[in-house]
Amino acid sequence: MSHTGLVAALIADDGTTDWPRRVPDRLETVLSAMPAAARAGFLAAAGAVDAYALARTGRTLARLTALERQSVLAGLAARPALLPLLDLLKVPVLLSAGTERMLDGGPPAGTLTRADPPLDLTPASAWPSRSTADAVVIGSGAGGAVAARTLARAGLDVVVLEEGSHHSTESFGRRAPLDRFTELYRDGGATFTIGSPPLLLPVGRAVGGTTLVNSGTCYRTPDHVLSRWSKDFGWTPADDFGRHLNEAERTLRVATQPLDVLGANGRVALAGARALGWRAAPLRRNAPGCRGSCQCVVGCPTGAKQSVQLSVLPDACAAGARIVTEARVERILVDPDRPGGPRAAGVRVRRERDGGFDILAPLVVVAAGALQTPQLLRRSGLGGHPRLGHNLSVHPATSVAGRFAEPVTAWQGVLQSVGVEEHHDAGILIEATATPPGMGSFVLPGAGGELRRELEDAGRLATLGAMIADRPGGRVLGRHGTAVRYHLDRRDAGRLLRAVLAMGELLFAAGAEEVLTGIPRTPRVRSLTELRDVVAGTGARRLHLSAYHPTGTAAAGASPQRFPADPQGRLRGVHGVLIADASVLPSCPQVNPQLTVMAAAMAITENQTKAIMSR
């Protein structure tokens, strides 16, 4: 089904330039990478718009003139209840349009900062049907990579299983951001939560996991969070967390982002904070030599960002670990009749060619991410704990943009550059975040000509994002696919609105002419007073929300009733299964969690190696 008419209507293709004509094809590519439910939702919404056009004019959108299409869209936009429907259509269209418009000026060139260190990679198709190892690590993200390195350095024969593929830095430089976007994310980046309101929850799927596509921001776990984990939840590794955080920072070469490549987006945030007297500074990042490509979320094209496949996994491979790519684990094999109770025996991996392969290992480290780990455990018959899959925190986030008199060109510079911590104690962390066009969580307002003008004028926009420390209101469902239910807590809804207000205040203080609120009914405000009125009259459910950093779905803690894993990360009810990813964190870490996850995995696997050595 072609979406030529829909695209032409939404971005007001008047035929004066070439790039809008390429957008429908690009849109097809984006849609094909989406999960079936999201694709069906888009097609239903597109069909509804076409039906509206047919009812109103007797023809579908593709057969209308530009003026008639504009009239149809204006009719739709006049009905506030239909605005969410339009936004559903706009997100993938803007993603495609932003890419084509950017490519119109020539694809961005990436220059390698350094060559990728070697990895021991084997595709699943070439892995033997039967093999053994001392330990199998499921997942190669922040947790899995560190677990593999710790175990391999202790002398264990380690196999890392990664569902995604390996992507080299050089391959990132060759391809357009959107092409990478659909490959590097699970469900083509269209993972969303079911509930009130629905949240977009993108997670990476490649060697390196989400660290490949995160912003590189490296916050240490706040002390008050660690203290709560230790005292309230009995998660003892938190007591010695500083040592592991130091090691993680050393491995990732974490340092404060220098100002030279910070970009105008970050400078706007700093200027606003300075005017208000707020605490703000360039973020600490794991990207020495960053050149401000602003493509962190689709894989750093220069190799500056020290994702774990460039920093941790090479060390693991040097110590003997092997990585199997495109290997989705079907189930953990469990021997139920071992003396002392059930014991993990290895894993079974799905493979088209011959039904799959088995790896037998007495230790299985699950680091499949907070959304996949509970499902994998359920598939393996290990989902008996009533709290498994519950306790999901996701850092709900929203963003606003400010229009300035001078060009900002937010996509030139560091993608996530400045952190504003003035409201962090209140659970709100503001980060100046710009993305390649269309890839951010901010949705430009309007449709048709209005949207086209916003697109053309995007160079004057500065964008800020805010994430809030949420109460664990989510739950991972089922055994397959990605099924997440999330209910935004009333307190967290208030925090999101306060965050919008704070970001608007910051942008106005930095000299913004107007602020794009992201609220469909009142998309633009020109003063702080107006913004306050808008925020007071709206609810968090009307915001464009996305979420990042899912954690806590197989949490570790002292209480056997409350936590599926014990304080050492060992899954309760079975021997030989460790949880070493974000799902093991007892509650929301309140900051970008890469360092926290790495330190947790380090603590858990170090404890395990000590136990093995002492036998």
Binding site: R130, S131, D335, R348
Partner: protein, 479 residues
Amino acid sequence: MSAATTSRTGTDGHPAGRGTVFSETMLGTLRLDDEHRVRRVRLDLTVSADRVMRLWGTTEARAEGRVRISGWSDDAGARGELEISPLARRRIRYRVEFTADGRRLTLDGWKSVSARRPVASMTVLPYTLHEDGTPIGTGTLRFPLGTQLLPFLASFRFPRSRRPGAFVRPRWRGEPGRTEVWYTTVTDPDTGSGLWLHHELTAPADGSQPYAHGWAAVFPEDGPVRHARFGPARWSRAESGFRAGEVTVRPGRLSGSADEGALHWDIAERPGGAPLFTFPRWCWRHPLLPAAHMLPAARSRYDGTFTHDGRTLTLSGAPGASARIYGHGNARRWAWLHADLGGGDVLEIVAAVSTRPGLRGLPPAVFLRLRRHGRDWPRRPERAAAGWAGAGRFRADTTLPTWTVTGRTALRRIRVEVTQPPDRTLALDYTDPDGGHATCRNSERADAHVLLERWWLGGWRTEAEWTLDGTAHAEVGTR
């Protein structure tokens, strides 16, 4: 632990459970990592387990057989192990070591049993070939259902366990009025001396404390019989065997001292041959008769030292046997013979008259077991003891110094004459659990003559004849 509890929890009272043996043939291919060609492979295995294979559980088994790889290997000495767990772990794992071209290799693979594809998953064995732990090739073996299913099913056997050590564990579970005996008799071929180590647990019928006791005796060729008692000692259940103070019986080991150290011994036992049940096997497993007697191994070899009064007897591969008795007490009258006939042949006889009312008036029931060329005769012990409702039973005359046993089956007959010269015989007093006493006259240097005849072409012809000169072990008990 109470007697009731132990009887529920332990199956060690019946250590002689059955095992499993079957043969399996699989055909398939192998591709070595450094080759582009595919080689054909045939695997013929005989698999044996110490227990009856359990479909719901996991059975560890040994495998022996032959590995043939076209153009590379034909090793008939392949050995390995199997982990058979089709339902619990849903895995049947094979690890087989063999030699190919002088290289020691291990085939490691498993069938992953799946309910969705039961036949394919139970018949296809993907494997990896390792050399020194490094993978060097992969392949797949398949069980050819069409040609091998029937031979495979027909090959299943469930033989009884042949682990002599298992029979050393105590049978007694706390019941009053029981006696249990571990005894060993040995002939030292170098000196002609005989040894007798008797270990006994007595649980008095009046419910008083059980006690462990026994004696050791040596029958030197050039002197009088020397013996000494040990115990009684408080009975403490030893899972692996018998213990009374420093006197112990463990699988493969006998040690202790008596008479304040005048006699002390430390002897290793090497069992040889399958267990020999003198009484019907069911009598041992289900103690319905007043007592039952059996040999964990029909014959054994002994190494070690036995010291008495400053003289040390050094045993080196000395023949003998250990036996076990469990029951209510001693018989009213009995005679016993253990004769190592050489060449792996053994004759074991117990002829006894029960103390029970109604049975004590009967002539002795003769339990005679002749193991010759690996086969036992008569085929069933009941045949010798009871005949056909008494007709044709074997007969015994237990008067000393020479006692005899005679008997015949359809085509064979036997005559055994045992002579226990008084100067080579030791008389000892036995105490039953009910307090009764019996006198036993034992000699580990008895003489015996065994004549085995077979009916052939209208007459009895000698099939085998053995004469033991001072190497038979015998005993006669009276009251």
